[in-house]
Amino acid sequence: MKKLFIASAVLACSSASFAVAPGGPNCGWGNMLFAGQSGLPSHLVASITNGTSGNNTFGMTSGTNGCSADGTLTYGGKKMVNVGAIMDEFSEDVARGDGEALTAVAVSLGVSAEDRPAFKESLHNNFDLLFPSADVQADSVMASIVAIMKQDQRLAKYVS
């Protein structure tokens, strides 16, 4: 019984210690590029312990820290991979023209396998539009992706 109490105490304090306003920095659609360690809240505990930060026990509900706990966010009614949480990987993939983060975004948007090269090419060619400055936030990156797709006849069907 005592153990259970300790467990819930642990969960309580770790959630509290990561409390960030919804959409605030380092999480969700408000995240910026190149956030470094501060962009990885779960790491603070995980680095020494392999431990859990407590708010991600089963990826069922959205996290108590305002970040999505299951790795997805909703964009225009669509379940999207949390672009804000993978901004660094995503921006590098766009610059290179390929990569897992870019594929994940394409798949989340429902872009079929045959249109994926076109999607990757289109984003790569519009790098400056997607990332006009290092302070760009995930929601505006997402809006740019949709705008770019609408302009592309092969991709417009996925965002209409």
Partner: protein
């Protein structure tokens, strides 16, 4: 609608269920099955145990039977009773028990479709493939020294094409934030923490291991059919928020994962070799040997990726990479523009990777962010570029086994001796490096016994722990090399004193002559019963040169320990020089030649020894 369906179902059940009680369900037989053992996490019984072993689960919420004394039969009877009274809520709480009992034709089909929360979870993760993941050993963190294992759950269909859409299922101690590493190691070993299963996006694991800790990740897909995956996930659901005591050595992350796999493969014995200690890499080896793992995929750490890019550059280009990473104005410098477009893209890529590598652990700064973006833009301006494939190093599951027994014969000052050494774990720098991190020595529980002609058997040394991490520094990487030792050691002085000592130090190492040269200054605290003043502290320094390899390895090293002046035993200076050459004979055998010169308090001695090492 839902309520109506519930009512109908309940009616159906209440009509059909009671029949099983009379329907000769043989509780004893059913409770003895491997599946029921696996579902309840009962340790595999050894031939020595007489009593029914209890479950590993330390949480009363996992059990239905309220009887104080746990038994398989009691829990099964209570489970069947619960299904009779509250079929749906019991199925929703224990979906794996339900699936199994249903497959035995004891319970009716279709109950789980009434479990909204469970079905929502299953639909959301929609798992088609399960992958066993090993994050390589990481000496700079006590909890990760031996590596870490967890499962990756890949979604069905196109979503399975990027690991960024997968989930990680992890068993870990739940630790208060800010707990320090040593306290963790201490409490982890003694069971001071609750352990829980948890899920999170797999990309968080990639960010944690390959980006922040620069650890390689190995992904072993498991051959599992839909029914086995169903059973695994149903059981995972049963363990949601259920508390196990977490122990560092035996009941750890890796052991719990094997138990989970045994629910999917009830006839496979994965856990019994690990009743006392479960090294993550050994558990992976066991899974591979059981035949359920496919070819692994290697995910290089960010540091390895950066090294691979740097390996293509000459010295002038490397200097340019540092200039680019320091100031984006260098992108317009004539020196940079003199390179071809292809080379410029490579240089910008290296500079970007390097900048991210050094700023990963820092707070975000506008200058660093702007520079990163400028380099990304530069990379992009030359068009798409395929990622350079990194050659897969030796697979960790194919490295030498982690326990070792060595027999050696030697001669010291014209006296012959025979040694027997037993090392519980794990690796030293002269053992074959294939599948192990470079420059690492990590030994726990090393015991050395010596028999000499005309003498009896005596303890020569005992080291509960010995760690050494050699990480070479260069223009790009500035890690610290360090070592820690604790244990008993026999001196070569007249008394042959047995001393207890703790020593440690930190220094640097560099790549030199195709090997690694190191210097590690430090301190040594020693207790010697034969001395008038038993406790003493010394300054020490170790310098050496190490060449590692898959077949041959050599180390040359010298140490100097200064206990200060005085005539008492143990005062003065101790010096030694050592040459060790290791030759791998087969996957689990090696020969090692050691030559040593010691000068302890003015007394000189030399020794030569040849050892046969067997890994198991």
């Amino acid at each position: 609608m839902f309520v109506l369906r519930m009512t109908v179902l309940t009616l159906l059940l209440s009509a059909s269920l009671p029949s099983y009680a009379q329907n000769s369900v043989d509780i004893g037989q059913l409770a003895a099955t491997p599946m029921w053992r696996a579902l309840l996490h009962i340790p595999r019984s050894t031939s020595f145990s007489i009593n029914e072993p209890a479950s590993y689960v330390d949480d009363p919420r996992f059990f239905i039977d309220r009887n104080e004394i746990f038994s398989r039969e009691g829990e099964l009877s209570a489970t069947l009773e619960a299904f009779q009274l509250n079929p749906i809520s019991t199925a929703c709480r224990f979906p794996a028990r339900y699936l199994w009992l249903q497959s035995q034709n004891i319970l009716p089909a279709g109950l789980l479709s009434e479990c909204a929360e469970y079905m929502e979870w299953r639909e959301k993760i929609d798992v088609e493939r399960v992958v066993l993941v090993l994050a390589a050993s990481y000496l700079n963190s006590p909890s990760s020294m031996y590596g870490h294992t967890f499962l990756r759950l890949d979604p069905a269909g196109e979503r399975g094409e990027s690991a960024f859409l997968s989930y990680a299922l992890n068993f870990a101690a739940s630790i208060p934030p800010g707990e320090n590493g040593m306290l963790y190691a201490y409490r982890g070993i003694l069971g001071g923490y609750p352990g829980l299963f948890s899920m999170q996006p797999y990309y968080e694991k990639i960010q944690e291991y390959s980006r922040l800790e620069n650890r390689d990740i190995w992904e072993y897909p498991l051959s599992m059919n839909a029914a086995q995956i169903d059973m695994l996930l149903a059981h995972t659901w049963e363990l949601r928020d259920i508390n196990f005591d977490y122990y560092f050595f035996d009941e750890n992350c890796s052991f719990r994962l094997l138990e989970l796999l045994e629910v999917a493969f009830p006839d496979l014995d994965l856990t019994s070799p690990f009743a006392h200690a479960a090294m993550p890499v050994d558990t992976v080896r066991e899974v591979v040997e059981s035949g359920i793992a496919e070819q692994p995929r290697y995910r290089a750490s960010k540091r390895i990726e950066l090294e691979a890019v740097l390996a293509e550059l000459d010295a002038a280009q490397k200097a340019m990479v540092i200039r680019l990473a320091t100031a984006e104005s260098q992108l317009k410098h004539p020196d940079y523009l003199a390179y071809s477009a292809d080379q410029r893209q490579l240089l910008a890529t290296a500079a970007y990777r390097y900048l991210r590598y050094i700023s990963n652990r820092e707070e975000r700064s506008p200058a660093q962010a702007n520079r990163s973006l400028a380099l990304l833009r530069e990379m992009q301006s030359y068009g798409p570029r395929a990622v350079r494939q990194i050659e897969m190093p030796g697979r960790p599951d194919q490295g030498h086994p982690t326990s070792m027994l060595s027999l050696s014969g030697g001669s010291s000052e014209d006296r012959q001796y025979a040694d027997m050494e037993w090392r519980i774990s794990y690796h030293d720098a002269l053992d074959s490096v294939a599948g192990y991190p470079e420059g690492a020595t990590l030994m726990m529980g090393r015991l050395k016994l010596r028999w000499r002609d005309g003498d009896t058997l005596q303890l020569q040394g005992f080291d509960p722990i010995a760690i050494r991490s050699l990480a070479p520094r260069d223009a790009f990487f500035k890690p610290i090399s360090w070592q820690v030792n604790a244990g008993l050691e026999r001196l070569e002085n007249i008394e042959e004193s047995m001393v207890a000592r703790v020593s440690g130090g930190a220094g640097a190492s560099v790549n030199f002559l195709k090997g690694v040269a190191y210097g590690l200054p430090g301190l040594r605290l020693e207790h010697n019963d034969d001395a008038e003043d038993p406790w003493r502290i010394a300054a020490q320094i170790n310098v050496g040169q190490l060449w590692q390899g898959n077949v041959w390895a050599t180390e040359l090293r010298a140490s100097y320990i200064d206990f200060g002046g005085g005539d008492d035993i143990g005062r003065g200076v101790r010096q030694s020089a050592y040459l060790g050459i290791n030759r791998v004979l087969s996957a689990n055998q090696a020969m090692r030649l050691s030559l040593e010169y010691r000068k302890e308090f003015g007394l000189e001695s030399t020794a030569a020894e040849l050892a046969w090492r067997h890994y198991f």
